[in-house]
Amino acid sequence: MTLYAAIFYLLSAVTVLATAIAITRRQPVHAVLYLIVAFLGTAALFFLLGAPLLAAFVVIVYAGAIMVLILFVIMLFRRSPRELRLLSEWGPATLLGVVFLAVAIAMVFKDPNSRIVLKGAVAQPGDFGRFLFERYWLAVEIVSILLLVALVTIIQVGKGRGTGGEEQEEGL
């Protein structure tokens, strides 16, 4: 086992463990904080897999922006809403997840290509950016339109219960 493999398994263990703790919390704040650890592990994993620009983006957008957004929205609620029926759905959900995972693992191990050992390579950020804007410039523009549509939607939905927006300062 090389040093890279040891780092990979360590990062995988950290990511999986943090995600497992996050999805079983009852308080959303705890879940979000554990999820930040999981996303940082994912970012380090991307760096190991040869995508340094994406590792930076994951730290900035996922662990930074999205998680802070969820934290602020949790803080908007006056009291943390308690989940009433906790254990009634966990059994079928876990069964579903385990069956899905077993099928996925069987499919991965059945494929002989999955035994190919990955060779290290790095997509330099400059090369990646040039590739993105030469080959996928239209998709980048579509993504910008998507973000604009999301912004318009948030402004309209967050305006309040009235359609005209005259009673928007009612508070939560």
Binding site: L45, V61, A104, V108, S114, A121, A139, E170
Partner: protein, 101 residues
């Protein structure tokens, strides 16, 4: 040199299925959105691993688009959650039985 290709895919499947369990099991809309984020994270790991496997940068480009879609999805979803919490005072999906604007 690093690890077998299948191991990265198993990691991605593990994270995806944990997100699926979180999405189905919780009765809190914020935890549902968190589950969707975890699922997208697993898909992104699979894309980046495939990008390294075939030495093509398309996988990383798709990861970037997944990132943008995740950002748009979670912001619109949280705006909807805040709006619906104003109307009903609850985050339980079972209490949303008013189907009107």
């Amino acid at each position: 040199m690093i690890v077998p290709f299948g191991h990265v895919f198993i990691l991605a499947g593990l994270i995806f299925s944990m997100g699926l369990v979180c999405l189905v099991a919780h009765r809190n809309l914020i935890m549902t959105l968190v589950g969707v984020e975890v699922m997208m994270n697993g898909a992104a790991i699979a894309f980046v691993a495939a990008s390294l496997r075939w030495h093509l940068m398309e996988g990383q480009a798709f990861m970037l688009f997944i990132l943008a879609v995740a950002a748009a999805e979670v912001s619109v979803g949280l705006a909807l959650v805040v709006n619906v919490f104003r109307r009903t005072g609850s985050l339980d999906p079972d209490s949303y039985n008013i189907l009107k604007w």
